[in-house]
C-alpha cells in the first residue's frame, strides 16, 4: 500500500515535470522558430469554427436555466429585477469560461490527443523528427496558439449568448420588467467580472492544448494506447479546469479588486 502510494506520487510528479518541460519548449519555439501560420489558422478553424454549435447551445441553455432558477428564488423575496445581475456576473466570471472550457476539452482535447497519439503509434512523429523537424514546432505550437486564442473568443460568445438567452427568458417567459432587469444587470456586472472570465479562458485554453498535446505525444502503443490517451486528455483537462477555476477565482478576485 505504501509503495503503491509512493509510485503514484512519483508518477504524478514525473508527469507534471514533463508537462512543464513541454510548456517551456513551446515558449522557446514561439520565440525562436518562425511560426507556421497556415497550420495555426487550420487549428483555429478546427477549434473555433467547428465548436460553434456546442458552445452556442451550452451558453444559451445555461443562461436560460440560470435565469429561471434565480427568478424562482428571488421572486419569493420580491427581488425579480435582480435576476439578470446574478446571470450576468455568473456567466461572465464563472459559467462562461468553465463550461466553454469543458466543452472544448471534450471535443477538441479528445481530437488532439487522438490525432497525435495515432501519429505516434504509426511512427509519423519519428518520421517528422527524421526530417529534422521538431514536433513541438510543427505540431504542438500551432495547437497551443490556436486554443489560447480561440477559447477566449468562444467564451465571449458563450457569455453573450447566455446573457441574451437569460434576458429573453426573464422578459418574455417570467414577465420581469425589462428596463429594471437591464439596469440592474449593467449596474452589478462590471468590467472586472468580464476580465476575470477572459483571463480564465486564456488559462483554460492553454491547459487544454498543453494536456491534450502531452497525452497524445506520450501515448502508449496500439489502439488501446490511443484510446487511453484520448480519455485521459479529456478527464485531466476537465479536472484541471475545475480545480484551477476555484484558485483562479480567489486569486483574480484579489488582483482585480482594486480596478
Amino acid at each position: 500500500m505504501h509503495s503503491l502510494a509512493v509510485k503514484l506520487v512519483a508518477e504524478s510528479l514525473e508527469g507534471t515535470g514533463r508537462l512543464g518541460l513541454l510548456l517551456v519548449e513551446v515558449v522557446r519555439s514561439l520565440f525562436t522558430h518562425k511560426p507556421d501560420w497556415r497550420a495555426t489558422v487550420q487549428q483555429m478553424h478546427f477549434v473555433g469554427v467547428k465548436s460553434q454549435s456546442v458552445v452556442l447551445i451550452t451558453g444559451a441553455f445555461t443562461g436560460m436555466v440560470l435565469c429561471a432558477q434565480t427568478f424562482f428564488q428571488f421572486h419569493k423575496v420580491k427581488m425579480d429585477t435582480a435576476t439578470m445581475a446574478v446571470v450576468g456576473v455568473s456567466m461572465c466570471s464563472e459559467l462562461g469560461p468553465v463550461l466553454t472550457g469543458l466543452m472544448v476539452a471534450g471535443r477538441v482535447g479528445a481530437a488532439i490527443a487522438a490525432e497525435l497519439g495515432t501519429m505516434r503509434v504509426t511512427e509519423q512523429i519519428d518520421a517528422l523528427r527524421s526530417l529534422a523537424t521538431h514536433p513541438v514546432d510543427y505540431l504542438i505550437t500551432p495547437r497551443m496558439v490556436a486554443t489560447v486564442i480561440t477559447v477566449p473568443l468562444l467564451t465571449a460568445e458563450s457569455i453573450t449568448v447566455g446573457i441574451a438567452s437569460g434576458y429573453f427568458v426573464g422578459v418574455f417567459l417570467m414577465g420581469i420588467d425589462p428596463a429594471y432587469l437591464w439596469h440592474n444587470m449593467v449596474r452589478y456586472t462590471g468590467a472586472v467580472d468580464l476580465a476575470m472570465g477572459m483571463i480564465k479562458a486564456v488559462i483554460f485554453g492553454a491547459t487544454i492544448g498543453l494536456i491534450s498535446c502531452y497525452k497524445g505525444l506520450h501515448c502508449g502503443t496500439g489502439a488501446e494506447g490511443v484510446g487511453r490517451a484520448t480519455t485521459e486528455a479529456v478527464v485531466y483537462s476537465s479536472i484541471t479546469i475545475l480545480i484551477s477555476n476555484f484558485f483562479l477565482t480567489l486569486a483574480l478576485e484579489r488582483l482585480l479588486a482594486g480596478l
Binding site: Q124, D126, L128, R129, S130, L131, A132, H134
Partner: protein, 248 residues
C-alpha cells in the same frame, strides 16, 4: 562515417542492445540482419538519434550525438534520410506535400522549383502523376516508394531503411530491393538497412552485420554470410527453427 561504441539500451528489465560496436564508412551499403525482436530497428533509431542510449555513444562524422538534445539533433538529422517499416507517410498530407516536406521546411526554394524536385524524386522511384493522391489511396509498395522519395529528395549523406520489404509480396519486394540498390549507386549515399529477409539483404548490401543477443555477432560479405558454417549464422540464413530437426 557512422560509429557506435559499446552501445547499450534496455526497455524495463529487457536489455535489447548489449554493447554494440560498429563502424560504417562513407559510401558503404550495409545490411544489419538478425531475428525479429532482436533490436535491429532499435539500433537503427539510435544511429539517427531517435532513441537515446543508456550507455555508450553514437558518432556521426566524428561528432558524438548520444547526449545531444532534440534541437541539437535536428542539425545532425539533416544528413539523414529514413524509410520507415510502415513508410510513416503523413496521412493528412498528399503525396506531393509528403515528398516536399523537407524542402518546404527550409523555405529556400520557390513553389515551381519544389514541384520540379518532387516530380524528379517520384520519377526516381518509378511513380509518376500521383502527386495529388492521399497516402490512404496507395498500396503498400507505393507507400514505401513515396517514403523513399521523401527520404532522398534533399540528397542526404546517409539513408536508413527499416525493414524495407516487410509486408510486401516477393515481386514488389524485389522491385524495392533493386530500387534501393539503384538509388545507393546513383546518389552515392551511405545505405544502412535492417532486415530479416536474406534475399533482400544480399541484394541491397555489400557488407552484412548480424545482430545477435544485443551485439554484432558476425560481419562479412553477402557471399561469406550465406556460406558461413557458424551454427548461429547458418541457422538464421537457412531459416531453421530447430537445428536438430531434419525434414528433408
Amino acid at each position: 562515417m557512422i560509429e557506435t561504441r559499446a552501445l547499450q539500451k534496455s526497455f524495463g528489465p529487457q536489455r535489447v542492445l548489449n554493447g554494440v560496436d560498429l563502424r560504417i564508412e562513407k559510401g558503404e551499403a550495409v545490411v544489419i540482419i538478425g531475428r525479429s525482436g532482436g533490436g535491429k530497428s532499435i539500433l537503427l533509431k539510435h544511429l539517427i538519434g531517435l532513441l537515446q542510449p543508456d550507455a555508450g555513444d553514437v558518432l556521426v562524422d566524428g561528432e558524438s550525438i548520444g547526449r545531444l538534445n532534440e534541437r541539437g539533433l535536428l542539425r545532425v538529422r539533416r544528413k539523414f534520410g529514413m524509410l520507415f517499416q510502415s513508410a510513416a507517410l503523413f496521412d493528412s498530407l498528399s503525396v506531393k506535400e509528403n515528398v516536399a516536406f523537407a524542402l518546404r521546411r527550409d523555405h529556400l526554394l520557390t513553389e515551381k522549383e519544389i514541384d520540379a524536385k518532387v516530380a524528379a524524386a517520384l520519377e526516381m522511384v518509378d511513380l509518376r502523376g500521383i502527386e495529388a493522391k492521399m497516402p490512404a489511396e496507395l498500396s503498400g509498395g507505393m507507400r514505401k516508394r513515396v517514403g523513399l522519395a521523401r527520404a532522398i529528395i534533399y540528397q542526404p549523406e546517409f539513408i536508413l531503411y527499416d525493414e524495407p520489404t516487410t509486408g510486401l509480396d516477393p515481386i514488389v519486394a524485389d522491385s524495392i530491393d533493386k530500387l534501393i540498390r539503384r538509388i545507393s549507386e546513383r546518389l552515392k549515399v551511405t545505405s544502412i538497412a535492417v532486415t530479416h529477409d536474406m534475399r533482400s539483404a544480399c541484394c541491397i548490401g555489400r557488407r552484412i552485420l548480424m545482430l545477435h543477443e544485443g551485439r554484432i555477432y558476425f560481419t562479412g560479405t553477402p557471399d561469406a554470410t550465406m556460406k558461413s558454417d557458424d551454427p548461429i549464422v547458418h541457422q538464421f540464413v537457412s531459416g531453421i527453427s530447430d537445428p536438430k530437426e531434419q525434414y528433408f
